[in-house]
């Protein structure tokens, strides 16, 4: 894939650039920012992250498993302790809770990995070390015929550097 990357040194020009690029329907836009900025989120305007579904399912699985395992075990070899009923759900709630948290949070991490394609083995095109430092980057994925106009737009909004990559 190929496209244009523009390096910006300040936030608001980045935001302006993104806005107009979106208007131009120039292509798929990826914004690199040293820190999450809600301004950017706002202008990119993507829907809520699907990570939460992973969390929900993981939590539910954990809770169920956390009840199932002790109850199954108690019945598997029914030994009476302290004159208590062989399977008693009350104490097992704690196991259930802990497993809910454990599996739930692991699922969340899984969600994060899946959704943001982690772990990524190689750096994709368009990334620049500066983006983790102080500067913002806009990567527009576009066919060669549109590249001139895109880079034009980027420069117009004061990109410190504009280069095409493939």
């Amino acid at each position: 894939m190929q496209g244009i990357v523009g390096v910006f040194s300040d936030l608001d020009s980045t935001v302006d650039a993104i806005e107009s690029l979106k208007k131009m329907r120039a292509g798929d836009i990826t914004v690199y920012s040293p820190a999450p900025r809600h301004e950017i989120e706002h202008v990119i305007a993507k829907g809520p992250s699907p990570v939460r579904r992973f969390t929900l399912i993981g939590g539910l699985l954990g809770a169920t498993f956390g009840y199932w395992i002790p109850i199954w075990v108690s019945d598997y070899w029914p030994l009476v302790v302290g004159g208590k009923p062989v399977p008693s759900w009350v104490p097992y709630t704690i196991i259930s809770f802990e497993l809910m948290v454990l599996i739930g949070s692991l699922a969340t991490v899984l969600g994060l990995f899946v959704n943001s394609r982690f772990p990524r083995i190689t750096m994709t095109v368009g990334y620049d070390p500066r983006f983790s430092d102080g500067e913002f980057g806009v990567w527009v994925e576009c066919p060669p015929d549109r590249q001139r106009e895109v880079s034009g737009t980027l420069q117009k909004f004061g990109a410190a550097e504009v280069r095409g990559e493939a």
């Binding site: 019945d75 029914p78 030994l79 302790v81 004159g83 009923p85 399977p87």
Partner: protein
């Protein structure tokens, strides 16, 4: 590291397997399954023994001179437990702690491995041929030189044929009759009895009496035949309303005193005056002499006069002991007790023919004077048992040639020139005459552990080797000799061996002519010193012969609860005055010597009196005895009650000063007060009729026919059985389902303990140690690598780490301000709770409730979180802090050959696991297996636990509480029944205690 690597010290199964070849057994040390193990078969199959099945040989206990009957449980060629012989008229199946500890004497790691000869002033091992040659040569010399008459043989007193044999043998060699010595015998009482009744020891019927008065007679300890006396006493007390009231008079409240309803403290030496007063003499003079309030004496006098059948006993061993004993005998006759409670016509004959202390002293004098050319000692240790002032070593050294037949390297045998170690009684043949007309037989339970020989056989060999005597000794060995001379011959002998006893009378050795030139002890000089000194033989160690047996060392003194130590008892008030606290080092000094030991502040001792137990302080005698405690004999003068020839134990006063240092008491006692927690309960006899069985005992929900049997099952367990409320599903019942195919839920093992019977003698504790392979932890060598108190004997116990699965708690009631106080004994063991708090906290099911009502501890599952112990209100769970069961560890509890005693049915626990009372589950399972093999159900009272079996008070009853056929089910219904902590904690224990019953002084008398 598979499952196989869990807590096993000595391999139990190896132990089982190594049948023929002895010492190989000890090579098997289990920590890994895949080491090459050897299975050693018999070379030749002995008849009628099945590997893995115990054989019981009936024999006679020789630990003291009474001679109770024992059964020796033997398996695969090892005797590993002694139990009382139920058929024996004397001990009726019971056995005291010292009797049970005999096996530890048998396997004692410090026993002589073989004969020893003194070469350049050191005893070096020798062969039997050398040793015997040497001895016969000496004998020959004596005969030829004509000095045989100057020989002297001192033998541990025992009844039976051996003394006769010995005298005959000595006579054949031209030697004088032997000296039959027993340092524990009450010579004064014996002498008095001979005078009054013509027998040394009439049997006493406690149950026939309405009032028992003991003047210093510790009949539950070392006075007379303790086990039979205790059996009878317990039976008497168990009669509750018609039980006799028991008054104890003496300067110190001994264990016997602690079982009395009233203790009257008197000055040492004033007993005679009191006896006279009770006989109707002047109360005032007696009161003034003894320091007892006249009113007390008067009321007792009245009570005694009005009691009808009563029993007065005399102990005491000071100046004038004989007069006291005679006075008491007269008093008994005057009260008409002879024939009712004192039965001279059924004498106990064990004590016939005992030589007195005075006789021994005379012998020592002769030695010192060089009139003894050849000295032979068997089973006696005068160097330890005689006061240091008797200068025994010097006397013995004065003898040119000394022979010891002792099995152990004790103080005396260390001085001898030749040691011919005797068999342990468990290895040897013999017989005894405990009662008139009753012969108790003694047979070996196993092959000799070490290269020893029975003295009698040695003597026979010597006689054979001597041309003059050879002709008269045709018998191959002593056993043959016994059979030849046995009344009834071979048939009677073999028949007798089955039960261990037979009827008949043995010839008796000629009674020794008592010498009476002993120095008469003066009346105690009140000007010297500021404290009376009372030295009494320890209830557990006896005359010190028990000191090399760790069970006895670790068994806390029944009264003070101190072990592995010597302590000085001092009165509470006096101590408060002098600012002495328990543990402060006291310095006791008499003209004879001095001694330093920690103080034990005790309410039960006369003011201005100190008491020290005798039995500790050995300088030889093996790893368990050496360096433990001090020997109070060093404080005593050599003075006697000349008339009876008995050594005066309380003959002097001592200077007592408080030392600067402090030595913690090695005690198992935490707080001696109950803090109103109702652990040991007692009830005055007059309230007994109003006593109702505790209500909550019936408060069992469910079917009406399921009224709550103690330990039967807990609420929730019953719920799991579907008896409460709506019946739960099958899997909720688990194995508790009465219809469960395993059928286990039918039974509920439970136990009752009758505190009215229990005397606190602690025989059950030792029985438990013996049965369950419980390690002893206090031995000096076990204190290395403990990271604290290195080298202090019992330091593990200072850390509270004793392992007594059943312990005897002794609580005091009242007496904080020096008034009357009531001691209460309560055996505390795992209660096998229906709602056991220990179970739900275990993370790995290492402890759980078995359907037949046991609170099970699975050693190999235990990881050692110790949470169960935290959660046990009764604190009856014990943890293996060190590798007591692992031979590689410095704390190993069964050094070589001691491990032969281990019970093959019980796992030896390794370090890091929790253990506790199992209700002797191995016995339960064994009887279940037996029943199954015979295709029947377990019969009611078919078996019982080790503690119940041994108890000389028959206070413990064990069985299936769910089946009314078992006596425990009936006992549990007693109105005196109560549970410990059940009301507060709802634990539903399986152990039911029956309240102690006290007999206060009658109002009328008290008013006077």
């Amino acid at each position: 590291m598979t499952e196989n690597s869990a807590p096993s010290g000595v391999g139990r199964r190896e132990f089982l397997k190594i049948l023929g070849a002895g010492s190989a057994a000890t090579a098997a040390i289990g920590c890994s399954s895949d080491r090459v193990e050897r299975l050693i078969p018999y070379l030749t199959q002995p008849d009628e023994t099945v590997p893995g099945v115990s054989t019981y040989y009936a024999s006679t206990c020789r630990e003291c001179s009474v001679g109770c009957g024992v059964l020796m449980e033997t398996r695969d060629g090892r005797t590993f437990k002694l139990e009382g012989n139920p058929d024996h008229p004397l001990n009726r199946g019971a056995l005291c702690a010292r009797g049970q500890a005999a096996v530890q004497g048998l396997y004692n790691p410090d026993r002589y491995r073989g004969p020893m000869i003194r070469k350049d002033d050191k005893l070096v091992p020798a062969t039997w041929t050398e040793a015997l040659q040497l001895l016969s040569q000496k004998l020959g010399e004596a005969q030829s030189a004509g000095t045989a008459g100057n020989a002297l043989f001192i033998n541990k007193h025992e009844s039976g044929s051996f003394p006769v044999f010995l005298d005959r043998w000595l006579a054949d060699f031209g030697m004088p009759a032997h000296l039959s010595y027993d340092s524990l015998a009450d010579h004064a009482v014996l002498a008095a009895n001979r005078q009054s009744y013509g027998v040394s020891w009439p049997s006493l019927s406690f149950s026939a009496a309405k009032l028992i008065v003991s003047i210093g007679a510790d009949f539950l300890e070392n006075w007379g035949a303790s086990v039979p006396q205790q059996l009878d006493f317990a039976d008497a007390r168990a009669k509750l309303e018609d039980a006799p009231r028991f008054v104890y008079i003496g300067p110190r409240r001994s264990l016997t005193g602690c079982n009395a309803d009233q203790w009257i403290a008197c000055k040492p030496g004033s007993e005679l005056a009191i006896a006279k007063a009770l006989a109707g003499g002047s109360v005032e003079s007696a009161a003034e002499a003894s320091g007892v309030p006249a009113a007390t004496l008067e009321s007792l006098q009245k009570e005694l006069a009005g009691a009808g059948r009563s029993l007065v006993l005399a102990g005491g061993s000071g100046a004038g002991a004989l007069d006291l004993a005679l006075a008491v005998n007269a008093l008994n006759r005057q009260l008409g007790n002879v024939g009712t409670t004192v039965l001279p016509d059924q004498p106990i004959t064990s004590f016939e023919g005992i030589a007195t202390d005075a006789d021994l002293r005379a012998a020592l004098e002769r030695m010192r004077a060089g009139q003894v050319s050849l000295l032979m000692l068997r089973g006696v240790n005068p160097l330890f048992t005689m006061p240091r002032a008797a200068r025994v070593p010097e006397a013995i050294r004065a003898v040119p040639f000394k022979v010891s037949f002792s099995s152990y390297p004790d103080e005396t045998s260390e001085l001898c020139d030749l040691v011919l170690p005797d068999h342990h009684p468990i290895e040897s043949w013999g017989d005894a005459q405990p009662l008139a007309g009753v012969i108790s037989l003694q047979q070996p339970g196993m092959d000799p552990v070490y290269d020893t020989r029975q003295t009698a056989d040695v003597l026979i060999d010597l006689a054979k080797g001597n041309q003059r005597t050879a002709a008269r000794y045709t018998a191959a060995n002593y056993m043959r000799w016994l059979i030849e001379n046995f009344p009834g011959g071979t048939a009677a002998f073999t028949a007798g061996l089955q039960k261990g006893i037979t009827s008949g009378s043995l010839p008796r050795a000629a009674a020794p002519a008592h010498v009476s030139n002993a120095p008469q002890a003066p009346a105690i000089d009140d000007t010297k010193g500021d404290f009376y000194l009372v030295v009494y033989p320890s209830p557990t160690l006896g005359d010190g012969s028990g000191a090399n047996k760790p069970w006895l060392q670790e068994l806390p003194d029944p009264v003070t609860k101190i072990c592995w130590q010597t302590w000085i008892e001092i009165n509470q008030q006096t101590a408060r005055k002098l600012g002495i606290d328990s543990g402060d080092i006291l310095h006791v000094e008499t003209d004879m010597g001095e001694l330093e030991a920690p103080a034990y502040v005790y309410m039960g001792i006369q003011e201005n009196t100190v008491a020290i137990a005798f039995g500790q302080g050995h300088t030889a005698y093996g790893r368990y005895a050496e360096g433990v405690g001090y020997n109070p004999g060093n404080l005593l003068p050599v003075s006697f009650d000349a008339a009876s020839g008995s050594l005066a134990w309380t003959a002097t006063r001592a200077k007592v000063t408080k030392g600067t240092t402090f030595a913690p008491l090695v005690t198992t006692e935490g707080s001696a007060r109950q803090h109103g927690r109702g652990i040991a309960r007692s009830i005055p006899v007059d309230e007994l009729p109003h006593l109702e069985m505790e209500h909550e005992e019936h408060d069992m929900p469910g079917k009406p026919d399921q009224s709550y049997l103690p330990g039967l099952r807990s609420r929730m367990a019953a719920d799991a059985m579907g008896e409460v409320g709506d019946s739960p599903s099958r899997f909720q019942k688990g194995m508790y389902d009465p219809e469960h195919w395993s059928g286990m839920a039918k039974r509920r093992w439970a136990m009752t303990i009758d505190l009215a019977r229990c005397t606190g003698c602690s025989a059950c504790v030792t029985a438990c140690y013996a049965e369950n392979n419980i390690p002893t932890v206090g031995a000096p060598y076990q204190t290395t690598h403990t990271a604290f108190l290195h080298g202090v004997p019992g330091s593990n116990i200072l850390k509270g780490r004793e392992m007594n699965w059943i312990r005897l708690e002794r609580y005091w009631e009242g007496g904080e301000d020096g008034g009357e106080f009531e001691p209460r004994f309560v055996p505390m063991l795992c209660q096998h709770c229906g709602n056991a708090p220990c179970e739900p906290v275990c993370p790995v099911y290492a402890t759980y409730h078995s359907p037949d009502g046991l609170n099970v501890q699975v050693y190999n599952r235990c990881v050692g979180t110790r949470y169960c112990s935290n959660n046990c209100p009764y604190k009856v769970r014990y943890f293996n802090w060190f590798g007591y069961g692992e031979p590689a560890r410095p704390q190993y509890a069964w050094p070589e050959r001691m491990n032969w005693q281990l019970n093959p049915d019980v796992t030896v626990r390794g370090k890091g696991v929790m253990e506790k009372c199992t209700f002797c589950v191995q016995r339960i399972r064994e009887s279940e297996h037996r029943a199954k093999a015979e295709g029947r159900e377990v019969k009611p009272d078919e078996f019982t636990t080790a503690c119940a079996q041994a108890c000389p008070s028959k206070a413990i009853t064990f069985g299936d509480a769910a089946d009314d056929e078992w006596s425990v089910a009936r006992m549990a219904q007693d109105r005196r029944a109560y549970h410990v902590f059940h009301e507060q904690l709802n634990t539903y224990p399986a152990v039911v205690y029956l309240q102690k019953v006290t007999h206060p002084a009658p109002k009328s008398a008290a008013g006077a």
